[in-house]
Each structure stands twice: as structure tokens, then as C-alpha cells.
Symmetry: C2
Subunit: 340 residues, 2 copies
């Protein structure tokens, strides 16, 4: 890219760089005629101010970093959509990384992004992250930081989440209302916030219906294929096997739906199913899948908004808040009323 600078304009018009700079910013102390000359020449030569030079001077990059477990996931791609919209509206760029559910990669990317001098960081933790020292120290050094969806308890900053407890409660309650009594809960790593909250909602619903909580029905998963088989084997090997599934993420919803179907288990006759999922085709599945949907776009949008407020020091002394957005339960065939 051969690019023209303010100096080139100055030289061409026999002016100083100061004058050109001021002319371009429409300063009052520049002769209108001079302004016109500069403006016209700049326009003609396709002049665009170099944001890098500005960044160096102002010590900001006008960009925010985003680290998510994976981009090619309905929930996160929708969230990124919201982030991009909010950031663009306020003149910021979005730089994206994925941790791929790996702690080591997450640390690496956080470090990289910080070195890159992004103005702020938007994060959703990898499922294998338990130690968040890398983020703590970054935050302590003054990097504006906002978490969404998968948040840590130990860092005090803005957080945006869905009301996971309520979502899980509604789903569990619904399954109970359809006559199921043994609800398996397939969920993420126990350390994650979303895991705890959803488990809490699940237990509350059981309690309210006077049913016992059975640890054997809860499976904390990572994301491997063998694991699915193993978990299903043990679940169906129980003396009192499950008659319903509540899965906690998009990937579990799809993975277990597929695995159940492969085993020729009938949904909803043998097993009722509700998945936390932002899959936009839940309606079209066989059978149509009941889902707890998170407002992904909205979450990304508000998280980015909060981050940019921090970046721009909108409130001088920020009072950190945890914004909770409602989850919505869509009842479909997969959790139809139990027959007989």
C-alpha cells in the first residue's frame, strides 16, 4: 500500500505539517482558502490519517480483544455478532482469538493480546481453565476486562451472563411436569460458573418437587467423543436409569442427541430431552428439540458496551456489575408429555 501522509501534502502545497494537520481538522486558525486547498488535495490524493501514528501518540489502539473457546459454535458466533455491532458503532475494532477449550492456549492468547495493546478484553473462559492468575494479573495491571457467559468468581469486574439457574430450573421443572423423575444432567467442568449455576437451578427444581438429588445422574464433561459413549453406558447401567436429559451447552446437546438416536433410544418416549442451545434449527430436528436459549447477540452487545465504557472511563470509579439476561425455554417435541 503506497500511502500518502500529511508530510507529502505539506511538501506539495508548500506548507508545514502543522498547518496541514490543522487544516484537516478544520481549525479556526487556518485561512479558509488554505483549508480548501489542503482538503481538496487530500481528497484527490486519497489521504487517510494513519491510525497507527495516532495510537502511538495517544497510547490506545481503538481495538478490543475477544477470546472465546471456539468461533464455530452457534452461541459464540452469535455473541461475536453482537460484539462486532457494538464495537463498530463506537469506532472500535474487534480482534478475535479462540482458546479451543484449552487452558494453555488461553494463557497464550491472553498474553499475546495484552502485548498487542488492545484497549480492553472480552472473555469467555475455556472449560479447562481453573487457574485464572493470567487474567488476574492483567486486570491488576489495569487492563479493562469484561467476562461473559463463562465467568470467574475471583475477579471483580463487569460480567454478563444468562440467568442460568433460572433457565435450568425452568427446564427441569418442565421435565418434571411432563412426568419424568430421573433427569440426567450433562454439564461442563465443575469449575465453570455456568456449571454451578445450572446445577443449582436443576437441584432447586428437584427440591421443590420433593425429589432426591442423585449425584450419579450428573456428568461433568469435556468434549471428547469417547466420553459420550462412556457416560451413556454408565447412565443406562444404573439400577434406576434416567428418563430425561438436560444438557448444558450447544455441543453437548448435539452430541448426546446424536448418540441417543444412534442407540435407537426413542425421544421423547424413552428419554425426554432439553438442551441449552442456540442452534437456530432446533425446530427442524428429529424430533424437534426443546431448548433453553440464551440471548447470545444481546450478551455480546451489552458485554462490549460495558467494556467500552470501562475503556473510555465513562464512570470514573466504576462500580462493577453482573448483568443477568433471561434465558428462554422453548418446549418442543423432544420433551413431550409422557404417555401412559
Amino acid at each position: 500500500m503506497d500511502t500518502i501522509t500529511i508530510k507529502d501534502i505539506a511538501r506539495a502545497l508548500n506548507l508545514s505539517t502543522s498547518t496541514v494537520s490543522r487544516a484537516l481538522r478544520d481549525s479556526y486558525e487556518i485561512n479558509p482558502e488554505t483549508k480548501r486547498l489542503v482538503m481538496e488535495y487530500a481528497e484527490k490524493m486519497h489521504y487517510r490519517p494513519n491510525p497507527i501514528a495516532l495510537s502511538l501518540k495517544e497510547n490506545r489502539s481503538q481495538s478490543i480483544g475477544v477470546i472465546v473457546p471456539e468461533i464455530a459454535n452457534n452461541y459464540f458466533s452469535q455473541a461475536i455478532n453482537g460484539i462486532e455491532a457494538a464495537a463498530y458503532d463506537r469506532g472500535y475494532h474487534v480482534v478475535i482469538f479462540q482458546s479451543q477449550e484449552s487452558y494453555e492456549r488461553e494463557v497464550e492468547k491472553v498474553e499475546h493480546l495484552a502485548a498487542r495493546r488492545v484497549d480492553g478484553l472480552l472473555m469467555s473462559l475455556s472449560s479447562n481453565t481453573t487457574d485464572i492468575e493470567h487474567l488476574k494479573s492483567l486486570h491488576a495491571r489495569g487492563m479493562p476486562l469484561v467476562f461473559f457467559d463463562r465467568i470467574p468468581a475471583e475477579i471483580d469486574t463487569h460480567k454478563v451472563v444468562t440467568d442460568n439457574a433460572s433457565g435450568a430450573f425452568k427446564a427441569t421443572e418442565h421435565l418434571l411436569a411432563t412426568g419424568r423423575r430421573r433427569i440426567a444432567h450433562i454439564t461442563s467442568q465443575p469449575g465453570l460458573s455456568i456449571t454451578k449455576e445450572r446445577l443449582h437451578g436443576y437441584r432447586m427444581a428437584l427440591e421443590q418437587y420433593g425429589l432426591p438429588f442423585d449425584e450419579n445422574l450428573v456428568k461433568y464433561c469435556s468434549y471428547t467423543q469417547e466420553e459420550v459413549k462412556y457416560n451413556l453406558d454408565t447412565l443406562f447401567g444404573l439400577a434406576s436409569p434416567p428418563d430425561a436429559f438436560l444438557t448444558a451447552t450447544d455441543r453437548f446437546a448435539l452430541g448426546y442427541y446424536a448418540a441417543l438416536k444412534k442407540r435407537l433410544i426413542r425421544i421423547p418416549e424413552d428419554i425426554a430431552f432439553v438442551g441449552f442451545s442456540n442452534l437456530n434449527v432446533a425446530e427442524l430436528l428429529n424430533p424437534a428439540m426443546s431448548t433453553v436459549v440464551q440471548p447470545a447477540f444481546q450478551m455480546g452487545h451489552t458485554a462490549a458496551g460495558l467494556l467500552l465504557d470501562l475503556v473510555e472511563k465513562k464512570p470514573k470509579q466504576p462500580v462493577y456489575a453482573t448483568v443477568q439476561l433471561p434465558a428462554e425455554l422453548f418446549v418442543r417435541e423432544s420433551s413431550a408429555l409422557k404417555q401412559g
Copy 2:
């Protein structure tokens, strides 16, 4: 972010910035003892070189821009996944924008990204883009540019596409082999490369089977909901209505699948269906959807690789190529053999 610079180190150790700079780059002309001092102090103070200062000096940003119609789309999010992987491996950042299928937004984002001094640009055209002057001029001014999936004919540069013609041919041939004769083709705007190529494959298959091409069966769509209804009305209003659908993109596949089911049209009994789609749950749909799958990750990965070769001037005089990756046809229930 309170950040430490090379100057701070120099001052603290009573050295010049030159010496510190060289010590940090492990230059041979610095006393090992001095190096050790500098390195240790830098480590202790968490020093990280400021990439923005480097960018200013070297006139490059170590980042590439990506403009896609929408992020929250299976195909594109998978492609971005590939782009991110390739870019990160080579030390580049990925800055993402979406045109939202709007020509005006596309122009705006292209302009924005260029002003932002990205080192190169990766594009998939919006469906409403017919005039590509904004990209032509950018390319003429020396911006490395690589297109993927939706490419323009009029710009000579690297392009990465799926073998759309072959994909459409295979799908059409398959539908013909199952006994269908009136295949509706739901596709994008006529200007797009993917539209033409897929249409070509579709026609070739018809021709090979000695069937006439009927313009009435081809619908060039944008992405509105009313349009779906209108197109279905006219298609089923034909004297000889379709007995199969071949849809050209992810969104059309889902949109028309849903609409057909809503009309209680039986798939595959009344209508056979094959969709170009990267939906990862095609298998789980009701009925399981036959799909032509594009190697999205691979496309993003190679496109990014080609772009970075251009950026880094790997071949001094690049010979622009159009890389064609194979599309794969997955036959499922939705295009089962016609009964009777």
C-alpha cells in the same frame, strides 16, 4: 494499562535506549553482563515491546482484515476458524467485519479497514454487491487481496472457492437418479460467482440426462422471509410443479426446509431436498438433510495462507491462482429414492 518502555529500562539501568534495544534483541555487540541486567530487569518489570511503535516504523500492522456477509453462519464461522488458525500461526491478527449482505455496509467496512492499515484483506462478497469499484481501486493501490467463496470475476488476484459446479452437478445428478425430474434451484443473486457456477453444474446435469432447462424453476433470492413464501407459491403454482429442491446456501437450506415442513409438504415423498450447507446437524434433522458440504475451514485456511504470502511478498511477482477445493455430497433421507 500502565506500561513500561525501553526508555524506562534505559533510565533505570543508566544505559541508552539503543543499548537496551540491542540487549533485548540479543545483539552480539552488547556485553553479556549488560544483556543479563537488561533482560532481568525487563522480565521483572513485565516489559513487552510496543507493537504499535513497530508498526509505525515498519509500516505494517501485523493484522489482516476479514469481511464476510455474516459471522453467525455456519459456513463463515467455520471459515473464520480456519483463517484465525492460519493467521495466528504466522503471527498475524484477524480483524473481523460483517457486511450483512449489504453493498453499502460492505463499501463502508472496506474503506474503514483500509484506513486502518491492515496488511491484507480477505473477502467474501455480499450478495447485493454488483459494483466492485471499491475493491478494484483498493487493489490497484497495492492492498493484498484474496477472495474466498464469493468471488468477483473482474479482479485478478488469488481466489479460493469450492468446486461449485461439480457440487451442484453431483447433487442434481443424484436427484435425477432418484427419479426426480422437476428440480427447483433456489440460489443467490445472479451476479455472484457461486450462483453462476452452481447454476452451471445444475444445467450440465440436466443436459446430460436430456432434460430441458426451465427458467421458472430457478429462483434468485435475497434473504427475506416474505420472499420464501412468494417463491413457494409461484413454484407450486406452476403447471408442472417441482418434485425436488436444490438450495445454494446455508440460509436457503434452512429457510426452505422449514417453510416446506410448515406447508406440510412431505420430504422426501412429495419433494426431495438437497442443500448446500455446512450445518453440522444435517444428520439430525427431520428428515436428515442431504447436503453438499464445502470445506469451510480448509477454505479459510488456504485463503489466509495465500494472503499472507502476498503480504510477505513470498513470490516477488505473484502469479494469481484460483484454488478450487472439492465439495462433498452427503446423501441422506431428504433425497431418498422415489417410491412407486
